[in-house]
């Protein structure tokens, strides 16, 4: 059973924003709404600068789904978190709940009127009939129904951003990590949060 996921390889991302542009173009996302963006840490520090591309991570236990007062979210069998814009009231709870800042709200009018929420759909459209003009206008292109993967991942020039079934992309990433001469130390708690004991050193070579 496919479970769609994104995985961004920080060693490969060159902050070109090609994924952001691809998403904007493919889904005709309105001005001011960014379904995907590139985040850079240690910007300008030689050797320490890392970038990753972030969008909705299609969480297995999505907090946006849990807090939505009108229950407009749903999860497909492929593990994609989608929402029904006909039900959304634009309250913004999902924005506060999401750890990735994925939900976006179009703003218009003199008082910063907040529109209905818009977010990455993993290029899977929404509740409207698949591959129709109505679906495209509300949610963007339904590439999964065309047998394609999200435009951001397919357009990534360095293939830093991988998209697809979690098992498949994890295999690709694992192969890369092993080729770089790293092993299992690049996964897990120690890499994410540092060494637990005083005086212990993080894995040689930093993260991969």
């Amino acid at each position: 059973m496919a479970r769609m996921k994104f995985l961004c390889d920080a060693e490969r991302c060159i902050e070109c924003n090609g994924c952001v542009t691809a998403c904007k173009n493919e889904n005709e996302v309105p001005w001011g709404v960014n379904r995907r963006r590139v985040v850079t840490i240690n910007d300008g520090v030689v050797g320490a600068e890392k970038s990753i591309s972030v969008a909705c991570m299609h969480c297995s236990d999505a907090p946006c789904m849990a807090v939505c007062p009108v229950d407009c979210f749903y999860k497909t069998e492929d593990g994609v978190v989608l929402h029904d814009k006909d039900l959304c009231i634009g309250c913004g709870y999902c924005f506060y709940a999401c750890p990735f800042g994925a939900p976006q709200f179009p703003q218009a009018g003199a008082f910063g009127l907040r529109g209905k929420m818009d977010k990455c759909t993993f290029c899977a459209g929404g509740p409207e009939a698949d591959r129709t003009e109505a679906e495209f206008k509300k949610y963007g292109r339904n590439r999964l129904a065309e047998g394609k993967l999200p435009a951001c991942a397919e357009m990534c020039s360095t293939k830093a951003l991988l998209g697809g079934d979690g098992d498949v992309i994890a295999d690709i990433y694992r192969e890369r990590v092993l080729r770089r001469g790293k092993g299992s130390e690049v996964w897990g708690w120690g890499t994410a949060y540092g060494p637990g004991k005083a005086g212990a050193q993080p894995p040689a070579g930093g993260k991969s």
Binding site: E77, R131, G147, L149, D165
Partner: protein
């Protein structure tokens, strides 16, 4: 005594509810996911020819997954460039 037993039973039942777990498996029923209508990707006709997508048999989830996974492997340049 009977009241105490009844009260204990109610409290035990409430604790048992706390140990419950929500179903992790997504159910697609009558064209809907959790009450919201949507079509499964594999229930569309394959537009491989006109849209240059993957080809699968309509309604066959397995063939759609095989096609999409094959496409995902295209992201691995080791396969895409060197092993073809």
């Amino acid at each position: 005594m009977r009241r105490v037993a009844l009260g204990a039973a109610v409290i035990a039942a409430l604790f048992a509810v706390g140990c419950g777990e929500q179903a992790q498996v997504t159910v697609y029923k009558q064209g809907k996911y959790q009450g919201k209508p949507d079509t499964q990707a594999w229930n569309n006709a394959s537009p491989a020819a006109e849209l240059r997508g993957s080809a699968w048999n309509k309604g066959d989830r397995g063939s759609w997954e095989t096609a999409i996974n094959q496409r995902a492997l295209g992201q691995n340049e080791d396969i895409r460039i060197y092993k073809q």
